[in-house]
Symmetry: C2
Subunit: 156 residues, 2 copies
DNA sequence: ATGCATGCAAATTGTTTGCACTTCA
DNA sequence: TGAAGTGCAAACAATTTGCATGCAT
């Protein structure tokens, strides 16, 4: 049942050690369908092996984050949740001025997705999002046309 | 130049006192075009009146939050940023099954908007968003049709 | 005047770090 | 074997809270 030996491998291939603690932490993140907090991970690890320290959990999470194997999602609960990064999954930013299209990481959509679910019970389709707007290059040009500027929010 | 006497009024009408500290804090949030942190607010308040304590800032922010006058945005910087709630501004959730449409607060879109700007330099058009998906009521029905379930992320 | 609000300091909570010890490669 | 990893406790930073005092209403 070593469903994703890959993740652990990645670690080792980057020159890091694959310790039992790390294996347990990885397995727990992988097997939790939802986002999971450091504290929850710690609880679950301790069920298997009670001497693992919370700092090890944090250190491992930071390592995995640095290697871009997991992502952090902050929902303003006072702590942070983690999940395996869905690598490659992305969406599109489309510039309404030049028509150019740019990819953005799926991960950026997750907090919105989760909040819509939690606060509105709404399951957003996030298979493929396209967001319109102005790309970095076109914004200055657009602002030149545009006489009215920011700063007078309540004026109307 | 009391541009928004309304905000302070709201407080008083709810039976809360309008103290100088609260007035200063409100003014600072209002006059800061961007999101602002508790610490930044504290700094600015102290420039005017050096004896205001950080706990007063936090207490005021919590009050304003409770009254839904401001919103909290957590961008994972290790602290939280605040801004006036754009009351009434909202977007739509459209159920792809029953066609029903639900409103959701503009505020939910802000973290995404800010991250797209910071990380991709992309200025998203967020005047009016419509997100498709399944509403609370339709999800169970949909899941009944749908034999394949969550839990096998990497299967495809 | 009286009770809500403030200031101060101490407590809390999530996370990080220094250091001695352990263990994987 | 020896550097990388761990456990522990102490440090940290953001936020909250208890309590005595002070000021809007």
């Amino acid at each position: 049942m070593a469903t994703h030996p890959t993740i652990g491998e990645s670690l080792r291939q980057e020159g890091y050690r694959l310790t039992p603690q790390r294996m347990m932490i990885l397995a727990i993140i992988r097997d939790s369908s939802d986002h999971i907090s450091a504290e929850e991970i710690h609880q679950k690890v301790r069920q298997q092996y009670p001497f693992v320290n919370i700092s090890t959990v944090y250190r491992t999470l930071n390592l995995l984050k640095k290697l871009r194997l997991i992502s952090e999602t902050d929902l303003g609960e006072g702590y942070v949740r983690y999940e395996l990064l869905e690598r490659g999954r992305h969406h599109h930013l489309v510039c309404r001025r030049c028509g150019e299209s740019f990819a953005f990481e799926h991960e950026l959509l997750r907090p919105l997705q989760l909040r819509l679910l939690k606060e509105y019970g709404f399951t957003a389709d996030v298979d493929h999002f396209a967001i319109f707007g102005l790309c970095q290059r076109c914004r200055p040009a657009e602002e030149m046309n545009d006489v009215r500027k920011e700063g007078q929010h309540g004026a109307a």
